[in-house]
């Protein structure tokens, strides 16, 4: 076999039956993550056919999408904390997992959290694995050199029943990011800039591999932020080659390989990076050293500008509709626009380093009067770590709300929503119309920019809030 890319190696390793011109490949799945919103109908399908879960041991469930971000002491009180329909989803998930022998990290677990945060944290997300979940941000796990992608609910049932998926081999896109990031510019700004560059459909049909010196220099938390938003460029998945940073991160995690298995696994992981001479279907080069903090101005993540630059003019009716929804005018910058809500959280930016970034800005400052700031850690473990460092005290002293983990205001299924017409600077991944609430206006940004905007009460440049 000739020179192979990281993606090709992982793909080839999981072929149960090869793709033909007539039929897709049967691809083996190493890890299936599930949550309460996209799984119930899959469990219905299994029940209707009398099928068992083929590998409950390769399936891991959590509660995150519809869950309250206030403490849940007993399941009885769930209906008081979220809408009864959301409570039903949670109860059905608990019942299904118990019935089918699937490990569920529920309200009684200190390992519960956002599905894409806990996989890596537990060390069950590993290089070379195929990982799927009924959630498009499954691309997050690609930061470890896994092939990880979101699937629909019928496919969730397919994986539960067979531990396989029928897949056509996607194309490959190399995004080469070179150079050093300037202070105040983060992984979030890198991925927003990439999406702005290739567009929200630019990665459709492709798996992206992020490469180059700027990517190698990122921590695992930051790599996850980059891979997380691959889907916002339309890509099936995003991947980063495993290296010392990856291996160091995984070492000693509870569900990472142990002992002799660890040695064999690491040997295999070391062989995963792209071979010299491997070809990609497309390549894009990005210079990280010239990037500024980025903010979105429209209703998809590709509508993004450097924070101090004016909103561009567009020609299509869709573009005009988008600006009208946002109440934004072309030719004026987003900088300085009044802010109503700030959300720091989601599978994009809710890890410990994100919270530290935000706390760095909040320390000794106050959330501007009239602004609601919500900080939602990605997992219960992160919450505990943040509290051990005193970050919760920094947030609360600044006047921000400090919550239990969950998806929360990223998609507003649990009652954490943004009001009609309100502007929310959010560290999440989607600024779609109505995503955070009916009529809500979302500006996507980094945790630094979000925290700076909370303090200023306006969309603010984080570089003015950094301490030397």
């Amino acid at each position: 076999m000739g020179a192979q890319s990281l993606f090709e190696k992982v793909w080839n390793d999981h072929i149960v039956a090869a793709e033909t011109s007539e039929t897709p490949a049967v691809l083996y799945i190493d890890l299936h993550l599930t949550h309460e919103v996209t799984s119930p109908e899959a469990f219905n399908v299994l029940a209707a056919r009398g099928l068992a879960v083929r590998r409950p041991d390769l399936t891991l469930a959590t509660l995150d999408h519809s869950t309250p971000t206030v403490p849940v002491k007993t399941l009885k009180e769930l209906d008081l904390l979220v809408e009864s329909s959301a409570a039903t989803q949670i109860r059905v998930m608990i019942e299904n997992c118990a019935k089918l022998g699937i490990r569920l990290l529920g309200f009684d677990s200190d390992q519960r959290g956002i599905v894409h945060v806990i996989g890596p944290e537990l060390g069950i997300t590993q290089p070379g694995k195929t990982i799927v979940c009924g959630d498009s941000h499954t691309s997050t796990h690609g930061a470890f050199g896994a092939l990880a992608f979101g699937i629909g609910t019928t496919e969730v049932a397919h994986v539960l029943a067979s531990q396989c998926l029928l897949q056509r081999k996607p194309k490959t896109l190399a995004v080469n990011v070179q150079g050093r990031l300037q202070p105040g510019v983060t992984a979030k700004d890198v991925i927003l800039a990439i999406i702005g560059r290739i567009g929200v459909g630019g990665g459709t049909g492709h798996v992206i591999e992020y490469r180059g010196s700027a990517i190698s220099a990122l921590s695992m938390d930051e790599r996850m932020t980059v891979c997380n938003m691959s889907i916002e460029a339309g890509a099936r998945a995003g991947m980063i080659a495993p290296d010392d940073t990856t291996i160091q991160y995984l070492s000693g995690r509870p569900l990472a390989p142990q002992g002799r298995d660890w040695e064999s696994a690491v040997r295999r992981w070391r062989a995963l990076p792209c071979d010299a001479g491997a070809r990609f279907d497309r390549e894009v080069d990005v210079d990280a050293s010239v990037l500024a903090p980025m903010v979105t101005f429209g209703t998809n993540p590709g509508m993004v500008v450097p924070i101090d630059q004016p909103v561009p003019a567009g020609e299509t009716a869709s573009f005009a509709k988008s600006l009208a929804y946002m109440g934004v005018e072309a030719g004026k910058p987003m900088l300085g626009r009044p802010v109503d809500v700030v959300f720091i959280g989601s599978c994009t930016n809710s890890r410990l380093s994100d919270l530290r970034d935000a706390a760095q800005v909040f320390r000794g400052r106050k959330v501007s009067a009239g602004v609601r700031a919500l900080v939602v850690p990605g997992s219960q473990a992160i919450k505990k770590q943040a509290e051990a460092e005193g970050l919760d005290q920094v947030f609360m002293a600044a006047g921000a709300e400090w919550r239990e983990s969950g998806c929360s205001m990223c998609l507003g299924m649990n009652g954490d929503t943004v009001g009609r017409g309100q502007l929310c600077v959010s560290t999440s991944n989607r600024n779609f119309e109505g995503r955070q609430g009916v009529g809500a206006r979302t500006v996507l940004a980094s945790p630094l920019t979000a925290a700076a905007s909370a303090v200023a009460g306006r969309v603010a440049d984080p570089r003015q809030y950094l301490r030397g």
Partner: protein
């Protein structure tokens, strides 16, 4: 799954680009534990005048006259991008949509359509717009035909466009096949793979 062979129906133009699955069905409309009862939430933010309400917005295409009976959507580039929620395909299907013509689709949504008996037809934007222009003159009379046996779209004026669909996807739609049942037939291969893989990568299996 019901079979799709050919369909001649009213087509509704919704030509915006990048219509995401949050727009097709907002998360607040999908707090369900099955795939039924979702049609009411279809395009909720655009279809109704008040949030969470059910008073129809008379300007929205699917609330207008003959388009209420549309079975085909004419859509813009990257239709169904974003969230993997299959609720988007379920809601469209339950409302009555059986085919969508667009210059491109979000990948996950595309697969969700195929698995729910909705034909995702990729044809160029200029062609979608031309068909929409003909339809708008008289939606009731100017119907569009999607023939999956011939991979052919026929515009109201009789002009035709071919489209491509992967053979397995086409067969699944034509025959109303079910992927789970198909994969179950390959059980021996899957078990053999698992046995080999366990030797190679024991740490995958707890």
């Amino acid at each position: 799954m019901e079979k799709f062979t050919t369909l001649t129906a009213i087509a509704a133009p919704l030509l915006m680009i990048n219509v995401d699955t949050d727009a097709i069905i907002p998360s607040r409309e999908m707090k369900k534990v099955s795939k039924t009862g979702l049609a009411d939430g279809l395009f909720a933010a655009w279809r109704y005048t008040t949030p969470g309400g059910r008073e129809e917005n008379p300007d929205f295409v699917l609330n207008r006259g003959p388009y209420r009976q549309a079975k085909i959507l004419l859509a813009g580039l990257n239709f169904g991008c974003g969230s993997s929620r299959e609720h988007a395909a379920w809601a469209l299907h339950e409302w009555g949509v059986r085919a969508i013509l667009a210059p491109g689709f979000g990948n996950i949504f595309y697969g969700n359509c195929v698995r729910n008996g909705i034909v995702p037809v990729v044809i160029d934007n200029a062609r979608v717009e031309a068909i929409a222009a003909q339809v708008e003159r008289d939606p009731e009379r100017n119907r569009v035909t999607v023939d999956l046996r011939q991979n052919l779209v026929t515009a109201p004026d009789g002009s035709t466009t071919t489209f491509a669909l992967a053979p397995a996807d086409r067969e699944m739609l034509l025959e109303g096949l079910d992927a789970i049942a198909m994969t179950q037939k390959r059980d021996a291969e899957i078990l053999a793979f698992q046995a080999r893989d366990r030797e190679r990568r024991p740490w995958i299996y707890p």
